[in-house]
Symmetry: C2
Subunit: 357 residues, 2 copies
């Protein structure tokens, strides 16, 4: 349980923050106003990001070059005035560190040459992975970012949840149904569990190393949670998320299981500080389930930002009014879409900041 | 309300059915065993379908040629021994009849040259549509099928629900987020309502004409229901489904709103005989909500059919045991995936048929 003595476990560097609203909201401490940031805030939405990206050979060069990753991580802090930075990276660095390299194909998304669908294909994965060395570029990016942020706002590290990472390792690309991954749960559940266990082990090491490199908080993204029913998500999703959360106690950690509406009662049982809600999840109902034991993060429909300034204000205030306690971090219910006007994002952020708690 | 006098409203042709289990289950009448069929049973899963398809120029030729459409509609009745046939067609014939032609691109899915994203683009749509003439190939296919089925099993007609059709008309293709469609709900809700109203009008005409051509029952597919939150689905989805259902009373009609877990309480309020459940929806919980006022259709995870014969039997029996009344039609929770072994489908069907109620 995250209790009153929570702050004594925090790494020293978090003590020097000028704006620690985000961390206080995670811990359920008093806040003057709700903190706000956006998933995918470091990304194509900003012209300044696109300018950096245009200089490089591709998405992966940006992910793998600490100077550039740090630069785009800080951009939304400077430009949008968000209350937290999230390190620019990709959840697929974990399967790559495990032995499956990927390409990011323009307009198409990720593509893995090798996939794991049989026990024999487990041999594609390396044993004894030195996470510190293989993902050193992420840790370097965190250190650089931390230094350049100079305590302005907290820095979030992240990873994909094991189920979502398994989906990419099995499917080798995005999919509408992820039927190859779901097939494995029926044809060879032991193999699925073996793969999930290996991903979990690497992810725990990875997240701990992110904390050591300067991350003040963590988020687990389970993008494909919603394709499993409640029972299967408990067995193949939450079991491993729970292992990760339990291995990294006393750290502000958000679990974002997109689409897992049916599993919300189970998610409230996790030992994490915060649950991320997608735009289809109901704040009031989730608060009833979770009580005051957790912070809720989210969940404005990202499409609201396509609307007029007036609409953005109205919908943001409607969301804020649905909050019955201080345990909230404001965000969208999904990553910001790349064609959103940054001015609308500023209206969203300003509306949250001007709202009296 | 569908009451005891339901049968007096049925068209005469349904009286001559040799196997009317499916219709009796819709009406909540006594059944000896649960009826069973599969969404997408007339399709790529069967080698016999692929043989017909290989002779033709493409998917649309199959949809538009009544002889071939009838042939593949009947194949699963002959080969798989299902308790209902569903006419081979596509939900996109409706937007096409309204003025937006589409292509079905191999490995990619549907593609519309013109899309409706502005009020001006409404001019792409025809006024005064003669549904009877424009979709005559569907009605011909129904008549032919009906004749060739010779009363063996009931014949299902179908259409896409207005929200899903709007998604294709706005997006012009499939999408992961359907953000263009969701954007419209914020930027120009009046245009969205105008488009939904027009789709609804055509759909009502279309479904009535399908009944006249021999359909014994109907199904509305709302494939993208799950991308809207409960409130928006009520306004932009259920409102129009409700209009359709109310315009076609006393007919066995299934509403299948895939992914709309949060909206299940609202779905139970519709005046339709049956709700389709996807594999993530819980049968027992939905039964509690709906009581005995409706039949539930579904909802085996289609990925179960990738498993062993033993697994298919076990999971099917587990599903059957979760039924607390006779008001059930057995189906998958999604269309059967094209690479499933038809032998596994036969095990599924046999297991349902051998199960003592």
């Amino acid at each position: 349980m995250i209790g009153e003595n929570f702050s004594e476990f925090l790494p020293l560097h978090t003590m020097e923050l000028k704006n620690d609203l985000f961390l206080r909201a995670h811990r359920g401490e008093a806040i003057e106003r709700y903190p706000v940031w956006l998933m995918r805030q470091a990304g194509r939405i900003l012209p300044e990001y696109r300018a950096v990206r245009a200089k490089l050979s591709g998405f992966k060069e940006l992910v793998e070059t600490p100077e550039f990753a740090a630069e785009v991580t800080i951009q939304p802090v400077d430009i949008l005035d968000v209350d937290a930075a999230i390190i620019f990276s990709d959840i697929l660095v974990v399967p790559e560190a495990m032995g499956l390299t990927y390409q990011m194909i323009e307009q198409k998304g990720p593509w893995f040459e090798k996939t794991i669908r049989t026990r024999e294909q487990l041999s594609f994965l390396d044993q004894e992975i030195d996470v510190q060395e293989r993902l050193s570029y992420v840790f370097e990016a965190l250190k650089l970012t931390k230094k350049e942020l100079a305590g302005r706002v907290p820095l979030i590290g992240f990873a994909g949840a094991p189920w979502t990472i398994l989906c990419y390792m099995v499917e080798g690309r995005g999919s509408k149904t992820f039927s190859e991954s779901r097939k494995l749960l029926y044809t060879d559940p032991d193999l699925a569990h073996e793969l999930l266990s290996r991903i979990t082990d690497v992810t725990i090491q990875y997240l701990k190393a992110q904390l050591n490199a300067g991350a003040d908080a963590l988020q687990l993204f389970d993008s494909w949670a919603g394709i499993l029913g409640r029972e299967q998500y408990t067995e193949f999703g939450l079991k491993y998320i729970s292992k990760i959360v339990d291995a990294i106690p006393h750290v502000p950690l958000t679990v974002f299981s997109k689409g897992a509406i049916a599993s919300l009662p189970d998610l409230t049982e996790l030992n994490c500080s915060t649950l991320g809600l997608d735009w289809n999840m109901n704040v009031v109902e989730t608060r009833k389930m979770v009580g005051e034991t957790k912070t809720l993060q989210g969940n404005l429909d990202p499409c609201v930002l396509y609307g007029s300034q007036k609409l953005v204000e109205l919908e943001t205030i409607k969301l804020l009014k649905s909050f019955e306690s201080q345990r909230h971090i404001v965000n969208l219910g999904h990553g910001v879409y790349p064609d959103i006007d940054p001015e609308k994002v500023k209206v969203f952020i300003k509306t949250v900041k001007n709202y009296e708690i």
